[in-house]
Symmetry: C2
C-alpha cells in the first residue's frame, strides 16, 4: 500500500478528490479525508553533508537555540530555527588503530568499524555528554560548544579586521590592546577582570598605536623588592617626543603591573602603572626609526634571563629592509624602574615639546608596582597611591631613555621582501651549549631559519611555505612532549596553514653538507654515516657526532662519503 508519492504541485482541491478511506483499518481508526502532500520546496528544510551518514541522534538545546545532531563520526550544532545553517561541526573519527582492531575481529571496516554517535545528553551548563560506538569499542566524551553568550568584544578585538591588536590571558584575566570604536580611533589597553582598567584616552598615552604583542613576565617569582608581575606590550605609534616635518612612527614597549587596581580619585579605573619607552633597533646608517612588527619572548625559568626578540621593518615605503633585535627583559625593566621620565613643556606660547624631566619625583615612584617599600609605608594597593604620584604618571607615561637591544645593534638586517613575524626556539645541542634558532616569516610566503651565534644571526635555511607570495600572518612553534625531537613550525596566511618540522637533517647526505649546514638540530653521526636529528642515541659525549656550528669547520669529516 505505497499509496503516497511525492507531488510538488498539489492543491487542496486535488487532495479533496482523494477523500476516501485509503487504509485497511480496524474499527477504531477513522480516516476522514486524504492525506495532504506538502511541497518539499516550501516547508521542509534539509540538512545533509556529503559523505556523512546516519543522522540518528538528536538533542534539542533550547538554551543555545541549537539542534545538536549525532551522525556517523560527526556531531553538528544546527540552528534550531533553520537546520540548513550549521553553526558547528565536530568530527569524531575512529583512529586507524581502532579500526584495524575492529576489522581483525571480522567486522566490516566501513559499516561496523566507524564511530556512530549514539548518545547525546545535556549536562550542567553548556556541557554535553556524548557516546559513540567507536569501531566496536564504545567511548564517551564531553563536548562543549560556542556558548552563544555574545559578549561585547570592544577593546578586546578590533572592529576593523585589518587593524592589529594584541592580548594575553594571565590567570584567567584578559589583557587586551585594541580599539574601542568603529573608526579605530580610540585605542585602549584594557583589562576586563577582576577590576576593569584601561588607559587614559590621551595622545601622550597612546597616539594612533599599532599593537603587535603582549606577554606576561612573572617578576614576583624572584624579586627582593617584593615587586609585582608585569604585562609587557609592544606597539608602534606616532611619536610625541620628536620634531619632524611629518608624522613619525616609533616603536614602543610598555608595561603595567598585574596587581594594579586603578587609583582612588585620580586615575579611577585607569592604569596607575602604565609606563612606556621607545624601543630602539637602529641600523648604523641614517634612517627613520624602524617599525616593530612582531615579538617573541624566549622564556627562561629565571625571568631575568628571558629575552624578547622583535622584528622591525623600515618606515620608508621605498626602503625594503627589515631588522631583528633582541632585548633583555632586565634592560627593559631597568628603564621603567630607574630611568628618567619625559615631560611636556610649553615653548614660546603654544608649542609643546617633550623634554627630560629633571625635577624631583613624588614618592612612591610614579608607575611603580606596589612593592615592599610601598607596603611598609602603608600603600598596600594601587588605590592607596597618593594623588601626587598618580597625577605625575597620568601626565608623563613616557620614559626618557630608550630600551636598547642586547648587542647594541640589530642581530639581522635583511633587504628584500619584508619580514613579518617571528618565533624563536631554544635548542640545546650536542656540545651542551644552547642556541636560539629563529624562524622569521616574510611578506611573500617564506620562512627564514636563522641561528644566533654570539650575537650574530646566521640564516641557515629558507623555505617557501605558500605557493602564492602572500604574507605570513602568524607563526607558532610546538614541541611534542613525548617525541622531544619532534618540533613543528606552524604558519598561517590568508589562504591556508602549513606545518613543517623545524629541521630535516636527513636531507644532508654527506658529512660536509651536514656540518656546513651549521644547523643546531643536526650533527653527522659517524658510525651510522648519516646526518642525524639531535638528540640522538649516538650522542655519547659527541665522540661519534660531528658538528661545528660557530665555524662550519668540516675538517673532522671522514674522507669517505664525500
Amino acid at each position: 500500500s505505497h499509496f503516497l508519492h511525492h507531488n510538488r504541485n498539489v492543491t487542496a482541491s486535488l487532495s479533496r478528490m482523494f477523500g476516501t478511506k485509503l487504509l485497511n483499518l480496524q474499527p477504531c481508526i477513522v480516516i476522514q479525508r486524504a492525506s495532504m502532500f506538502l511541497s518539499l520546496d516550501n516547508n521542509v528544510i534539509t540538512f545533509k553533508e556529503e559523505g556523512v551518514w546516519n543522522y540518528s541522534t538528536m538533542l534539542i538545546r533550547e538554551d543555545l537555540g541549537l539542534l545538536v545532531l549525532g551522525a556517523r563520526e560527526a556531531v553538528y550544532a544546527l540552528d534550531i530555527n533553520n537546520i540548513s545553517v550549521a553553526k558547528s561541526k565536530v568530527l569524531w573519527k575512529v583512529t586507524e588503530e581502532k579500526q584495524k582492531e575492529c576489522t581483525s575481529k571480522g567486522k566490516h571496516p566501513d559499516i561496523d568499524c566507524r564511530n556512530y554517535v549514539r548518545m547525546l545528553h545535556q549536562m550542567n551548563g553548556s556541557v554535553m555528554y556524548m557516546c559513540g560506538t567507536n569501531a566496536f569499542s564504545p567511548t564517551c566524551d564531553y563536548m562543549l560548544k560556542l556558548e552563544g553568550k555574545q559578549e561585547d568584544g570592544r577593546g578586546k578585538c578590533p572592529f576593523d579586521p585589518f587593524q592589529r591588536s594584541a592580548s594575553v590571558m594571565a590567570d584567567q584575566d584578559l589583557y587586551s590592546a585594541s580599539s574601542l570604536n568603529f573608526l579605530g580611533s580610540e585605542p585602549v589597553i584594557l583589562r576586563t577582570s577582576p577590576i576593569s582598567l584601561r588607559t587614559v584616552f590621551k595622545s601622550s598615552w597612546l597616539n594612533e598605536p599599532n599593537f603587535v604583542y603582549m606577554d606576561v613576565v612573572p617578576e614576583s617569582e624572584d624579586s627582593p623588592e617584593g615587586d609585582d608581575d608585569k604585562v609587557y606590550m609592544f606597539f608602534s605609534e606616532n611619536a610625541v617626543e620628536y620634531d619632524f616635518y611629518n608624522k613619525l612612527v616609533v616603536s614602543r614597549v610598555a608595561r603595567v603591573c598585574k596587581g594594579d587596581m586603578g587609583g582612588q580619585r585620580t586615575l579611577q579605573r585607569k592604569w596607575t602603572s602604565f609606563l612606556k619607552a621607545r624601543l630602539d633597533c637602529s641600523v648604523p646608517e641614517p634612517s627613520l626609526p624602524y617599525i616593530i612588527q612582531d615579538v617573541f619572548q624566549v622564556r627562561h625559568k629565571k625571568w631575568r634571563k628571558s629575552v624578547f626578540y622583535a622584528v622591525f621593518t623600515s618606515q620608508s615605503s621605498t626602503d625594503r629592509s627589515s631588522t631583528v633585535c633582541a632585548y633583555d627583559v632586565t634592560d627593559i625593566s631597568k628603564v621603567f624602574s630607574r630611568g628618567k621620565f619625559k615631560t611636556e613643556v610649553t615653548v614660546e606660547m603654544s608649542d609643546v615639546k617633550w623634554v627630560t624631566y629633571n625635577g624631583e619625583l613624588p614618592v612612591p615612584r610614579p608607575g611603580a608596582c606596589i612593592n615592599n617599600a610601598a607596603r611598609s609605608s602603608g600603600i598596600m594597593q594601587s588605590l592607596d597611591i597618593p594623588d601626587k604620584t598618580l597625577q605625575f604618571i597620568r601626565d608623563r607615561p613616557l620614559m626618557d631613555d630608550a630600551v636598547r637591544p642586547i648587542t647594541g645593534k640589530p642581530l639581522l638586517l635583511k633587504r628584500g621582501p619584508l619580514l613579518t613575524r617571528l618565533v624563536v626556539d631554544h635548542v640545546t645541542v650536542s656540545d651542551r651549549e644552547s642556541y636560539h634558532v629563529m624562524f622569521v616569516g616574510t611578506e611573500n610566503g617564506y620562512v627564514q631559519k636563522a641561528v644566533n651565534y654570539d650575537g650574530e644571526m646566521h640564516i641557515i635555511e629558507e623555505v617557501k611555505l605558500f605557493q602564492n607570495a602572500e604574507p605570513i600572518e602568524v607563526l607558532r612553534l610546538h614541541q611534542n612532549q613525548v617525541l622531544v625531537c619532534f618540533v613543528q613550525l606552524y604558519a598561517g596566511s590568508a589562504s591556508g596553514v602549513v606545518q613543517m618540522p623545524v629541521s630535516n637533517c636527513s636531507r644532508y647526505s654527506s658529512c660536509l653538507d651536514c656540518v656546513l649546514a651549521r644547523d643546531p638540530y643536526c650533527a653527522w653521526d659517524v658510525p651510522a654515516q648519516r646526518c642525524s636529528r639531535l638528540p640522538t642515541s649516538a650522542d655519547d659525549g659527541k665522540s661519534n657526532l660531528i658538528q661545528s656550528l660557530k665555524d662550519g669547520d668540516a675538517t673532522r669529516c671522514p674522507t669517505i662519503g664525500f
Copy 2:
C-alpha cells in the same frame, strides 16, 4: 632580491653550489652557505579549506593535542601532529542583520563586514575564549571542545552501531540501557553515578533485549506515600513466561527508583528496584505480540496525568502492520506497586515454567522504592532492605500483570510500510480543548500526522520527508519559546535531516478545506478569509474562527469562497 624560488628537485650538492653570500648584509650578519630548499611534498603539511580565508590566529593546546586555528568566520581544531586532520570546525558567521548594519556604514560587505576571528585564549579547563571582528562589531564568546577524555562507553553506548540502546540523564546521573560486550550478548541497564548500579546478568532480568526508550517520571513531586522518582524503560525481549514452539518476543516496560543504592549483601551494586511488566498493545485478531519500536512521554505538570505513547510493529515478517498504543503512567505504576509477581517453578523434573506467585510477599514489598512506610520501619535506603526482600526480587523481577493501553486497544493499526518512531505534541485549540497530535515516522521516509479524538486516532496528513524510501531513525519536536506557534518537527535518517513546521494552514485555500482538514493547528478565520495557524489574533471566543475537529462539520462555512 627575490633570490629564492620553489624547486622540488634540489639536492644538497646543488645547494652547495650556491654557497655564497646572497644578501646585502650588515657586518653582524654572516651567511655561511646558501639556503636549503625544502620539498613541499615531503615536509610541509598544509591545511586550507575551500572558501575559508585569513588563517591568522593560532592557539596551541598541548593538553588536547590541538592547534586551534582562527580564520574568517571559522575556528578549527587541528591535530597538532598533522594539521591536515581537522578534528572539528566551528562556524562563527556574522548575522545578515549585522552585515547590513556594517555595509550601511560604508564598509565592504565581503571584505570588512565579516567575522574575522582575531583572538583565541585558553581559559580554565578546556574552555577557550575567542573574539572576532563580527562585521565591525567586535564580539567575544566562549568555545568549548571535545575534551578528548575518551571515557569508557561500555554499557552506555552499544558496540554494534545497529544495536539499539536507550539512555536518560537525570540530575547529572546517566541511566543507560545497552550492552557490555563486543558480541552484544551482555545486556545491562546501568547507572554510573552517584553509585554505579546495574542489572543482574540473568535471563529472567534481561533476555536478549532491544532497548528503545527511557525517561524519568518525577513521582516524588506528588506522592502521599513519600515515594521516589522513577526511571522507566521500554524494550522488547525474548519472553520467558510463554510456551511457544519458537523464540517469542514481547514488549516490556521496566522501572527503577532514582534513590536506589543497591543492596548490602544481596544485590550489591545491583538494582534493588528493577521491576518489569509486559506491555500489551494487542489487535483484535489473533497474532503474535507486536514489538515495541519507540516511545514518547507526553509530560503533564502533574505526573499522574502523563501519558506514554508507543509504536509497535508486527513480529511476523510477512505481516506488514504497525500499531500505536497509549499508556497512563498511573496504570504502569499500579502494576508495579500493587500487582502480583511471576515466579519460576520446576515442572516434571527439568521443565521450568513461570506462573503467578500466590505466596506471601516479604516486607517491605520487593522492588518498592524507599517510601514513608519503609522509613518508619527504619529502612532509610536500599542498603537497609532485608535480604529476604532482595532475594525475592533478584529471582522474580517480572510482574504477573501486563500493562494495558488506555482504551484497552491500539489507537491506530496501520498496514503497509512499518512505523518506526513517534513524537506527540500537546495542542490547545481555539475551543479551549486540547488534543494530542502524533507524528509517526515510517520505514520509507514518510511522517504521518494523526490526532487523538476521544481515543480514536485520525491520520490527517502524510508527508514524504526523504526522497529515497529510507527509515526515519529519529524524530524530535521543538516549540520556539518566543514564537509560540512556531513548532517544528525534526526527522533524521541515514542520508540527512529535515525540519518542517508541524502545520501549514495557509495551504488550505477554502473554508471547506480548512475545516475538513481537522487539523488542530488550523482554523478558518472568517473576517480574514483564510485558514490561520492557531493561536491567532482573530481568536476572540471562536466567533470569528471555524473549526470542527471531531466531526469535520463544514456547514458553518460561509458560502462565498467555495
